[in-house]
Symmetry: C2
Subunit: 272 residues, 2 copies
């Protein structure tokens, strides 16, 4: 059984998509075709959307589910003529919130993901450049301005995690790869010693690591299971010996790893 | 007037935060202190949350606004004892959706941002590594596998945009800096010629560009207004001459730029 879902917005569509995905993920028996439609910001575009929705309804033999965050009343009215089940995100919550807050909503479009509403936008972009410049131990003399330094063996997920924390939360995250050399003595590299309080470790199941490394350098010693197994075992020993907090990234997404790290490190995310 | 808002979840908190931020951004006259509380996944942690909420209520002299996506009934019951105004995201929409879909919700925790629910997770991580490896024209021999190649002058926003498209949508985005040399002849660099259909241009207001470059290399020719003005003018000429679609990034966030690019290029985002 296939059912189509539309995430429609007059802005980026991020809110409609995020909430819609969350809600639909609760219905495991249904296969959804999910379509994101940002910047539906004229009545004409809404009319085109109605046609797309009605076509999907005919194709599926069932009306599509519509998650929308459109603010403009005229565009909303046009959309409402479609043959879809409307999950009307804003109007459901806005008027009760107006009551509670004793203040009128501004009914303005696309504020949440705009620069102007985002006091920390520049911090986020600066953090992205920081993460790029301080990726993979590329340089270590800017660690005093890091919020966090991720450590771990090569290809355990440090880079995507740093970039996610930077982009979403403006966290200045550097990362440093632990190598064979560090493991032999079970010592921290010199560059990390003064920043021990900022270190957070990642670890990963050795067979998963081997398969990731294999894609990069097939049949190398680097990608072999014994080598991966050795590195992971040693690095976990190092974390325990030095009391470095760490998590196993194998079964978690960057979103989950980042949230767990921030909770454990007690970093208050810089929310807009 | 200050009011505290909590985004509470037994998962990453991304859905609660995204929806909460969107809704609160509609109330421009109220200053909110926003607190993200992910992984509230035990009754004990919920009890601690209740204390935090009640303390904020006392501090502010007004009850906090609580956006929550907690699924577990016991944890929800504990949270409900707090002195806060609850915006109950899941329960508001789930039972009407159950009716419409003719199927029960699984009431499972944190599915939306997990790896298992995200068929394209590996694509996203691969796309991040692709964006890193193909940043700033670092190499050009992998452009045939690019979904898009962003072009523009140095520091106009190419890198953060590529990383955002990669992380959020699994789009393989390379970027290539256009320099003085390219501008003299108003020609595309050789490496880009075979991929003209994948090019998308960014431009930026010259004074904004000068201020960004100034932070990087203060008082350089590179950061001077005349140089920035020249580069921007020439690069826009190039876009128009070659019919390369482009947008001005000055007043838009990476979220907005990415959404606009995907709409213009007609790239269907790879949704989970």
């Amino acid at each position: 059984m296939n059912r189509t879902a539309f995430f429609i917005s007059d802005g980026t569509g991020i809110t409609a998509e995020t909430l819609g995905q969350s809600l639909l993920s609760q219905f495991e028996n249904i296969r959804f075709t999910k379509l994101l439609r940002p910047y539906v910001d004229t009545v004409e575009k809404a009319r085109d959307m109605v046609q797309q929705i009605n076509a999907a309804a005919e194709r599926d033999g069932q009306r599509p589910i519509i998650f929308d965050t459109v603010v403009n009343a005229e565009i909303r009215a046009e959309l409402a003529t479609c043959n879809g089940y409307m999950v009307d995100i804003f109007s459901t919550f806005l008027s009760p919130l107006e009551q509670e807050l004793g203040d009128g909503s501004s009914y303005s479009v696309g504020k949440s993901h705009s620069i102007s509403h985002n006091g920390h936008y520049k911090d986020r972009i600066d953090a992205v450049h920081y993460a790029m410049d301080n990726d993979d131990g590329a340089r270590t003399h800017h660690y005093e301005t890091a919020d966090i330094i991720l450590v771990g063996v090569s290809r355990c997920g440090k880079t995507p995690t740093c970039l996610y924390m930077a982009l979403q939360y403006g966290i200045r995250a550097a990362n440093y790869p632990l190598t064979d050399e560090d493991m032999e003595g079970l010592r921290l590299p010199k560059a990390l010693l003064p920043h021990k309080g900022k270190l957070f470790g990642l670890t990963i199941e050795p067979d998963r690591l081997a398969s990731i490394r294999h894609e990069r350098r097939p049949n190398s010693r680097y990608a072999s299971f014994p080598q991966c197994d050795f590195e992971v075992r040693e690095v976990e020993k190092l974390y325990r010996k030095l009391n470095i907090p760490y998590i196993n990234s194998t079964h978690f997404s960057v979103e989950e790893i980042s949230a767990k790290i921030l909770v454990e490190m007690g970093i208050e995310r810089r929310l807009k």
